[in-house]
Protein backbone atom coordinates (compact mmCIF):
# COMPACT_ATOMS: atom_id res chain seq x y z
CA UNK A 1 0.00 0.00 0.00
CA UNK A 2 1.47 3.35 -1.03
CA UNK A 3 1.28 6.38 1.24
CA UNK A 4 -1.34 8.02 -1.00
CA UNK A 5 -3.49 4.88 -0.97
CA UNK A 6 -3.34 4.83 2.82
CA UNK A 7 -4.01 8.58 2.98
CA UNK A 8 -7.12 8.13 0.81
CA UNK A 9 -8.40 5.38 3.10
CA UNK A 10 -7.81 7.57 6.15
CA UNK A 11 -9.70 10.50 4.57
CA UNK A 12 -12.61 8.25 3.58
CA UNK A 13 -12.78 6.97 7.15
CA UNK A 14 -12.98 10.50 8.54
CA UNK A 15 -15.43 11.73 5.90
CA UNK A 16 -17.67 8.66 5.92
CA UNK A 17 -17.97 8.81 9.73
CA UNK A 18 -19.25 12.37 9.59
CA UNK A 19 -21.38 11.75 6.49
CA UNK A 20 -23.21 8.70 7.82
CA UNK A 21 -23.65 10.08 11.34
CA UNK A 22 -24.76 13.41 9.88
CA UNK A 23 -27.39 11.62 7.83
CA UNK A 24 -28.56 9.56 10.80
CA UNK A 25 -28.89 12.64 13.00
CA UNK A 26 -30.74 14.49 10.21
CA UNK A 27 -33.40 11.77 10.33
CA UNK A 28 -34.65 13.46 13.51
CA UNK A 29 -35.43 16.67 11.66
CA UNK A 30 -39.11 17.36 12.29
CA UNK A 31 -39.42 14.40 14.68
CA UNK A 32 -37.47 15.33 17.81
CA UNK A 33 -39.35 15.34 21.14
CA UNK A 34 -39.28 19.14 21.46
CA UNK A 35 -38.63 22.00 19.06
CA UNK A 36 -35.41 23.05 20.82
CA UNK A 37 -33.86 19.58 20.48
CA UNK A 38 -35.05 19.36 16.89
CA UNK A 39 -33.12 22.49 15.94
CA UNK A 40 -30.08 21.45 18.00
CA UNK A 41 -29.94 18.05 16.28
CA UNK A 42 -30.33 19.64 12.86
CA UNK A 43 -27.44 22.01 13.68
CA UNK A 44 -25.28 19.04 14.67
CA UNK A 45 -26.19 17.17 11.47
CA UNK A 46 -25.32 20.23 9.37
CA UNK A 47 -21.96 20.63 11.14
CA UNK A 48 -21.15 17.00 10.36
CA UNK A 49 -22.18 17.30 6.70
CA UNK A 50 -20.03 20.44 6.44
CA UNK A 51 -17.05 18.52 7.80
CA UNK A 52 -17.81 15.74 5.31
CA UNK A 53 -17.45 18.20 2.43
CA UNK A 54 -13.94 19.02 3.61
CA UNK A 55 -12.81 15.43 4.27
CA UNK A 56 -14.29 13.93 1.12
CA UNK A 57 -13.23 16.96 -0.94
CA UNK A 58 -9.63 16.28 0.09
CA UNK A 59 -10.15 12.55 -0.47
CA UNK A 60 -11.19 13.30 -4.08
CA UNK A 61 -8.04 15.40 -4.57
CA UNK A 62 -5.75 12.71 -3.18
CA UNK A 63 -7.51 10.03 -5.23
CA UNK A 64 -6.80 12.07 -8.37
CA UNK A 65 -9.67 10.71 -10.48
CA UNK A 66 -11.51 14.01 -10.70
CA UNK A 67 -14.20 13.00 -8.20
CA UNK A 68 -15.93 15.61 -6.05
CA UNK A 69 -17.09 15.19 -2.46
CA UNK A 70 -20.63 14.78 -3.84
CA UNK A 71 -19.50 12.01 -6.21
CA UNK A 72 -17.94 10.15 -3.31
CA UNK A 73 -20.98 10.65 -1.05
CA UNK A 74 -23.70 9.78 -3.54
CA UNK A 75 -22.18 7.41 -6.07
CA UNK A 76 -20.43 4.76 -3.98
CA UNK A 77 -22.05 1.54 -2.83
CA UNK A 78 -22.09 0.16 0.72
CA UNK A 79 -18.86 -1.86 0.43
CA UNK A 80 -16.88 1.27 -0.50
CA UNK A 81 -17.84 3.11 2.70
CA UNK A 82 -15.25 3.29 5.47
CA UNK A 83 -17.27 4.55 8.44
CA UNK A 84 -17.28 2.71 11.76
CA UNK A 85 -20.37 0.59 12.41
CA UNK A 86 -21.34 2.76 15.41
CA UNK A 87 -22.51 5.62 13.20
CA UNK A 88 -24.66 3.52 10.88
CA UNK A 89 -26.79 1.69 13.47
CA UNK A 90 -30.38 2.97 13.54
CA UNK A 91 -31.24 5.89 15.81
CA UNK A 92 -33.52 3.95 18.16
CA UNK A 93 -35.15 6.29 20.66
CA UNK A 94 -33.93 9.79 21.47
CA UNK A 95 -31.83 8.48 24.35
CA UNK A 96 -29.99 5.98 22.18
CA UNK A 97 -29.35 8.65 19.55
CA UNK A 98 -27.78 10.92 22.16
CA UNK A 99 -25.79 8.08 23.72
CA UNK A 100 -24.36 7.22 20.29
CA UNK A 101 -23.64 10.90 19.74
CA UNK A 102 -21.79 11.11 23.04
CA UNK A 103 -19.74 7.94 22.42
CA UNK A 104 -18.77 9.29 18.99
CA UNK A 105 -18.23 12.93 20.06
CA UNK A 106 -15.82 11.82 22.78
CA UNK A 107 -13.69 9.95 20.23
CA UNK A 108 -14.11 12.68 17.62
CA UNK A 109 -12.94 15.49 19.91
CA UNK A 110 -9.83 13.58 21.01
CA UNK A 111 -9.04 12.56 17.41
CA UNK A 112 -9.41 16.12 16.07
CA UNK A 113 -7.20 17.42 18.87
CA UNK A 114 -4.42 15.14 17.62
CA UNK A 115 -5.10 15.89 13.95
CA UNK A 116 -4.61 19.61 14.57
CA UNK A 117 -0.92 18.71 14.92
CA UNK A 118 -0.90 16.68 11.68
CA UNK A 119 2.16 16.89 9.45
CA UNK A 120 -0.25 17.53 6.55
CA UNK A 121 -1.38 21.18 6.62
CA UNK A 122 -4.72 20.41 4.92
CA UNK A 123 -5.61 17.82 7.55
CA UNK A 124 -4.58 20.18 10.35
CA UNK A 125 -6.73 22.97 8.88
CA UNK A 126 -9.85 20.77 8.62
CA UNK A 127 -9.30 19.52 12.18
CA UNK A 128 -8.88 23.07 13.46
CA UNK A 129 -12.20 24.18 11.97
CA UNK A 130 -14.12 21.04 12.97
CA UNK A 131 -12.79 20.93 16.52
CA UNK A 132 -14.75 24.00 17.64
CA UNK A 133 -18.01 22.50 16.37
CA UNK A 134 -17.24 19.15 17.92
CA UNK A 135 -16.33 20.68 21.30
CA UNK A 136 -19.89 21.99 21.42
CA UNK A 137 -21.36 18.67 20.24
CA UNK A 138 -19.55 16.92 23.08
CA UNK A 139 -20.67 19.46 25.66
CA UNK A 140 -24.27 19.10 24.56
CA UNK A 141 -24.36 15.31 24.24
CA UNK A 142 -22.57 14.72 27.55
CA UNK A 143 -24.97 17.08 29.35
CA UNK A 144 -27.93 15.25 27.86
CA UNK A 145 -26.49 11.84 28.74
CA UNK A 146 -26.07 13.00 32.35
CA UNK A 147 -29.52 14.60 32.42
CA UNK A 148 -31.27 11.50 31.12
CA UNK A 149 -29.04 8.92 32.85
CA UNK A 150 -29.45 10.62 36.22
CA UNK A 151 -33.06 11.51 35.48
CA UNK A 152 -36.26 9.58 35.98
CA UNK A 153 -36.47 5.83 36.45
CA UNK A 154 -37.59 5.43 32.84
CA UNK A 155 -34.94 7.71 31.32
CA UNK A 156 -32.23 5.96 33.37
CA UNK A 157 -33.41 2.55 32.15
CA UNK A 158 -33.46 3.69 28.53
CA UNK A 159 -29.98 5.20 28.74
CA UNK A 160 -28.53 2.05 30.33
CA UNK A 161 -30.15 -0.03 27.58
CA UNK A 162 -28.70 2.32 24.97
CA UNK A 163 -25.22 2.00 26.50
CA UNK A 164 -25.49 -1.80 26.67
CA UNK A 165 -26.55 -1.89 23.00
CA UNK A 166 -23.92 0.55 21.71
CA UNK A 167 -20.88 -0.38 23.81
CA UNK A 168 -19.83 -3.31 21.56
CA UNK A 169 -19.51 -0.77 18.71
CA UNK A 170 -17.04 1.44 20.60
CA UNK A 171 -13.95 -0.78 20.19
CA UNK A 172 -13.83 -0.37 16.40
CA UNK A 173 -12.92 3.32 16.77
CA UNK A 174 -9.61 2.23 18.35
CA UNK A 175 -8.70 -0.61 15.99
CA UNK A 176 -5.41 -0.26 14.11
CA UNK A 177 -4.37 -1.69 10.77
CA UNK A 178 -1.74 -1.06 8.07
CA UNK A 179 -3.50 2.17 7.01
CA UNK A 180 -3.12 3.55 10.53
CA UNK A 181 0.47 2.38 10.76
CA UNK A 182 1.29 4.22 7.52
CA UNK A 183 -0.50 7.39 8.70
CA UNK A 184 1.25 7.30 12.07
CA UNK A 185 4.65 6.77 10.41
CA UNK A 186 4.02 9.80 8.19
CA UNK A 187 2.89 11.89 11.18
CA UNK A 188 -0.43 12.56 9.40
CA UNK A 189 -2.70 10.91 11.99
CA UNK A 190 -2.28 9.17 15.34
CA UNK A 191 -2.54 5.43 15.87
CA UNK A 192 -6.20 5.08 16.98
CA UNK A 193 -5.19 2.69 19.75
CA UNK A 194 -3.25 5.54 21.36
CA UNK A 195 -6.50 7.47 21.95
CA UNK A 196 -8.14 4.79 24.07
CA UNK A 197 -6.80 5.74 27.47
CA UNK A 198 -7.93 9.37 27.20
CA UNK A 199 -11.27 8.21 25.80
CA UNK A 200 -11.91 5.75 28.62
CA UNK A 201 -11.18 8.41 31.24
CA UNK A 202 -13.53 10.92 29.61
CA UNK A 203 -16.35 8.45 29.04
CA UNK A 204 -15.99 6.95 32.51
CA UNK A 205 -16.23 10.38 34.12
CA UNK A 206 -19.42 11.36 32.27
CA UNK A 207 -21.13 7.99 32.58
CA UNK A 208 -20.39 7.85 36.31
CA UNK A 209 -22.02 11.25 36.71
CA UNK A 210 -24.92 9.88 34.67
CA UNK A 211 -25.19 6.95 37.16
CA UNK A 212 -24.73 4.50 34.27
CA UNK A 213 -22.62 1.35 34.24
CA UNK A 214 -20.20 0.56 31.42
CA UNK A 215 -20.57 -3.10 30.37
CA UNK A 216 -17.70 -5.36 31.39
CA UNK A 217 -17.07 -6.82 27.95
CA UNK A 218 -14.49 -5.43 25.53
CA UNK A 219 -15.99 -7.41 22.63
CA UNK A 220 -16.06 -5.20 19.54
CA UNK A 221 -18.07 -5.47 16.31
CA UNK A 222 -15.78 -4.66 13.41
CA UNK A 223 -15.84 -4.41 9.63
CA UNK A 224 -16.93 -0.83 8.95
CA UNK A 225 -13.70 1.16 8.80
CA UNK A 226 -12.06 -1.42 6.51
CA UNK A 227 -15.30 -2.02 4.56
CA UNK A 228 -15.06 -5.76 5.13
CA UNK A 229 -18.59 -6.09 6.50
CA UNK A 230 -21.04 -3.29 7.20
CA UNK A 231 -24.30 -3.93 9.02
CA UNK A 232 -27.44 -4.45 6.97
CA UNK A 233 -28.52 -0.95 8.04
CA UNK A 234 -26.03 0.92 5.85
CA UNK A 235 -27.62 -0.20 2.58
CA UNK A 236 -31.04 0.97 3.74
CA UNK A 237 -29.57 4.31 4.77
CA UNK A 238 -27.91 4.74 1.36
CA UNK A 239 -31.16 4.08 -0.52
CA UNK A 240 -32.61 7.08 1.34
CA UNK A 241 -29.53 9.27 1.06
CA UNK A 242 -28.60 8.53 -2.53
CA UNK A 243 -31.89 7.95 -4.33
CA UNK A 244 -32.17 11.43 -5.82
CA UNK A 245 -28.73 11.36 -7.48
CA UNK A 246 -29.37 7.79 -8.59
CA UNK A 247 -32.79 8.53 -10.09
CA UNK A 248 -31.86 11.95 -11.50
CA UNK A 249 -28.11 11.79 -12.22
CA UNK A 250 -26.41 15.17 -11.95
CA UNK A 251 -29.52 16.91 -10.60
CA UNK A 252 -28.78 20.21 -8.85
CA UNK A 253 -30.89 22.92 -7.22
Amino acid sequence: MTRDEAFLQFLLRMGDNTLILGHRVSEWCGHAPVLEEDIALANTALDLIGQTQMWLGLAGEVQGEGKSADDLAFLRDAWDFRNVLLVEVPNGDFGRTLMRQFLFDAWHSIMLGRLMKSSDDRVAAIAEKASKEVAYHLERSSDTVVGLGDGTEESHRRMQEALDYLWPYVGEMFASDEVDAEMAAAGIAPDPASLREEYDALVQRVLTEATLTIPDSRFAHKGGRDGRMHTEHLGHLLTQMQWLQRAYPGATW
Binding site: L35, E36, I39, A40, N43, Y136, D143, G147
Partner: protein, 94 residues
Protein backbone atom coordinates in the same frame (compact mmCIF):
# COMPACT_ATOMS: atom_id res chain seq x y z
CA UNK B 1 -49.02 20.03 31.68
CA UNK B 2 -46.73 19.28 34.59
CA UNK B 3 -44.28 17.34 32.42
CA UNK B 4 -43.38 20.41 30.40
CA UNK B 5 -40.02 22.08 30.84
CA UNK B 6 -40.17 25.62 32.24
CA UNK B 7 -40.28 28.57 29.87
CA UNK B 8 -37.20 30.82 29.59
CA UNK B 9 -36.95 34.32 28.17
CA UNK B 10 -33.87 34.80 26.03
CA UNK B 11 -31.77 37.96 25.76
CA UNK B 12 -28.95 38.24 23.26
CA UNK B 13 -26.23 40.83 22.93
CA UNK B 14 -25.41 41.32 19.27
CA UNK B 15 -22.11 42.01 17.55
CA UNK B 16 -22.83 45.74 17.65
CA UNK B 17 -24.34 47.32 20.71
CA UNK B 18 -23.85 47.08 24.41
CA UNK B 19 -27.25 45.90 25.57
CA UNK B 20 -28.87 42.49 25.63
CA UNK B 21 -32.17 42.49 23.75
CA UNK B 22 -35.11 40.20 24.21
CA UNK B 23 -35.30 37.87 21.20
CA UNK B 24 -37.93 35.32 22.24
CA UNK B 25 -38.50 32.40 24.54
CA UNK B 26 -37.96 28.65 24.66
CA UNK B 27 -38.32 25.62 26.93
CA UNK B 28 -35.46 23.94 28.78
CA UNK B 29 -35.04 21.77 31.90
CA UNK B 30 -32.54 24.13 33.56
CA UNK B 31 -30.60 27.35 33.02
CA UNK B 32 -27.55 25.70 31.47
CA UNK B 33 -29.64 23.85 28.90
CA UNK B 34 -31.58 27.05 28.28
CA UNK B 35 -28.32 28.72 27.25
CA UNK B 36 -27.44 25.80 24.98
CA UNK B 37 -30.91 25.80 23.44
CA UNK B 38 -30.72 29.57 22.97
CA UNK B 39 -27.38 29.12 21.22
CA UNK B 40 -28.96 26.59 18.87
CA UNK B 41 -32.25 28.39 18.29
CA UNK B 42 -31.28 32.07 18.28
CA UNK B 43 -27.59 32.36 17.25
CA UNK B 44 -27.49 30.11 14.18
CA UNK B 45 -26.79 33.05 11.88
CA UNK B 46 -24.01 34.63 13.85
CA UNK B 47 -26.35 36.97 15.75
CA UNK B 48 -24.79 37.07 19.15
CA UNK B 49 -21.76 37.36 21.40
CA UNK B 50 -23.52 36.90 24.75
CA UNK B 51 -26.67 35.19 26.02
CA UNK B 52 -28.80 35.84 29.11
CA UNK B 53 -31.61 33.50 30.12
CA UNK B 54 -34.29 34.24 32.71
CA UNK B 55 -36.98 31.83 33.77
CA UNK B 56 -40.19 33.46 32.58
CA UNK B 57 -41.98 33.19 35.93
CA UNK B 58 -39.22 35.31 37.50
CA UNK B 59 -40.28 38.26 35.39
CA UNK B 60 -42.82 40.65 36.88
CA UNK B 61 -44.63 42.55 34.17
CA UNK B 62 -46.82 45.63 34.29
CA UNK B 63 -50.46 45.00 33.63
CA UNK B 64 -51.92 46.15 30.30
CA UNK B 65 -55.07 47.33 32.11
CA UNK B 66 -52.96 49.81 34.11
CA UNK B 67 -51.88 51.52 30.92
CA UNK B 68 -53.88 54.67 31.66
CA UNK B 69 -52.58 55.53 35.11
CA UNK B 70 -49.06 54.33 34.33
CA UNK B 71 -48.31 56.05 31.06
CA UNK B 72 -50.89 58.66 30.12
CA UNK B 73 -49.80 61.26 32.74
CA UNK B 74 -46.44 61.62 31.02
CA UNK B 75 -48.02 62.39 27.65
CA UNK B 76 -48.85 65.97 28.66
CA UNK B 77 -45.47 66.80 30.16
CA UNK B 78 -43.46 67.92 27.19
CA UNK B 79 -41.17 69.97 29.43
CA UNK B 80 -39.56 66.70 30.50
CA UNK B 81 -37.97 66.38 27.06
CA UNK B 82 -34.64 68.16 26.93
CA UNK B 83 -35.53 69.98 23.74
CA UNK B 84 -35.92 73.50 25.12
CA UNK B 85 -32.27 74.26 25.49
CA UNK B 86 -29.83 75.62 22.95
CA UNK B 87 -26.75 73.49 23.11
CA UNK B 88 -23.56 75.51 22.77
CA UNK B 89 -21.58 74.73 19.64
CA UNK B 90 -18.46 73.75 21.55
CA UNK B 91 -20.26 70.88 23.28
CA UNK B 92 -20.42 69.02 20.00
CA UNK B 93 -22.56 65.94 19.36
CA UNK B 94 -24.51 64.63 22.35
Amino acid sequence: MKNEWPLWEIFIRGQHGMSHRHVGSLHAPDAEMAIKNARDVYTRRNEGVSIWVVEANNITASSPSDKGPLYEPSESKVYRHPTFFDIPEEVGAM
